[in-house]
């Protein structure tokens, strides 16, 4: 029952924030993170068209593997919050956490005059609040 990491992807598919919360995880280079985020963005876009039920559907919201679970929160503006957790983490608590992360993002990042929208997030206040939120 652990939270492994958080990624924030902008509406164009570029990774704007990446952070690991647990030790002992495989270390990737920043380039690999960018590639993975872009791939996930593409998969999310494809899955939003795969629904057999006619009408609008969102893309993949949870992707589960044996050792991990990826939860995706897609906001109205196209920003994606990806939370990487252990598979045992309950879905309700993940949803609540993703909403809180979104609120923190709206406060510390969007209300920061020194942040350019859709650009990588370099905000100490965001890092500090996230650290307080997760742990």
């Amino acid at each position: 029952m652990a939270i492994f990491g958080l990624w924030v992807i902008n509406k164009a598919g570029g990774l704007v924030y990446q952070r690991s919360f647990a030790d002992g995880l495989a270390q990737l280079t920043s380039n690999e993170y960018l590639v993975l985020a872009g791939t996930l963005h593409g998969i999310h876009a494809i899955t939003s068209r795969l629904s057999p039920i006619p009408g609008q559907s969102s893309g993949a919201q949870v992707i589960e593997g044996e050792t991990f679970k990826i939860s995706v929160l897609l906001t109205l503006t196209g920003t994606k919050f990806i939370l990487l957790t252990s598979p045992a983490e309950p879905a309700s608590s993940i949803d609540v956490l993703l909403q809180k992360i979104y609120t923190t993002y709206a406060e510390k990042v969007m209300q920061n005059p020194f942040h350019t929208p859709e650009m990588p997030i370099r905000s100490e206040a965001f890092d500090v609040s996230l650290g307080a939120l997760i742990s």
């Binding site: 209300q111 005059p113 020194f114």
Partner: protein, 216 residues
């Protein structure tokens, strides 16, 4: 695209956003004729203020070259707000008290800024007011968690910037209005418990100190 003025007429049924829903008898009262005490206890959401102030800082940053110039411009903007805050606070105090006072001595004036002006602008009094031990003409107002700076993270290349220069401008305008000319600046003085703690440094002009000595 329909470019005629038809859609503005109150007789059409298309969606309207700015016309009143019922017809009022007589001319509509405009904002200048509204009673000043009407919005006395009105509150604005902190998020709206943060977004507005964030845009103020971004707008100023595009037009300056350097931290000092940015602080000076924010100070000027705060000055314009402070002049109006002083008048409004004095007017509202007048209507509630029987014998409204105007502060003519330095220490009561600083205390009035510390409590009433801060309460009028930010909803709570400032955290501390101190007198400098080195210089006799310096006083400091300390705010542990300035409302406008709550979500601001200053990047490393602009370190030393304090967006509370806006509050410093407000204080400078209030002091000027009360007759205590001073130079007011804001400095970021974080502690471990309060990472956004700010000190507003008030450097009074010599004429103020001379007058205080005479009145003593």
């Amino acid at each position: 695209m329909n470019s005629s003025v038809e859609h503005l007429s109150p007789t059409t049924s298309s969606a309207r956003f700015s016309l009143p829903s019922k017809s009022t008898a007589g001319p509509k009262p405009n904002i200048y004729e509204r009673n000043l005490n009407k919005t006395r206890v009105a509150e604005v959401s902190a998020a709206s203020l943060s977004f507005l102030f964030s845009e103020v800082v971004q707008y100023t940053q595009k037009r300056v070259s350097g931290v000092n110039d940015l602080e000076r411009r924010l100070n000027t903007l705060g000055y314009r707000v402070g002049a109006r805050v002083l008048e409004l606070t004095a007017y509202r105090a007048e209507s509630s008290l029987k014998a409204p006072k105007r502060e003519i001595r330095l220490l009561p004036a600083l205390m009035a800024i510390h409590t009433q002006i801060w309460r009028a602008v930010y909803g709570r009094p400032a955290d501390a007011i101190e007198k400098s031990v080195e210089n006799v003409d310096e006083y400091m107002i300390i705010d542990n968690d300035p409302l406008i700076e709550r979500h601001i993270s200053v990047p490393r290349d602009l370190s030393g910037l304090s967006c509370s220069s806006f509050s410093a401008g407000i204080v400078e305008a209030v002091l000027d209005g009360l007759g205590f000319p001073a130079r007011v600046t804001a400095h970021h003085t974080p502690t471990s418990t309060h990472p956004t703690r700010t000190t507003i440094l008030i450097k009074l002009e010599k004429s103020v100190l001379d007058r205080e000595d005479v009145l003593k």
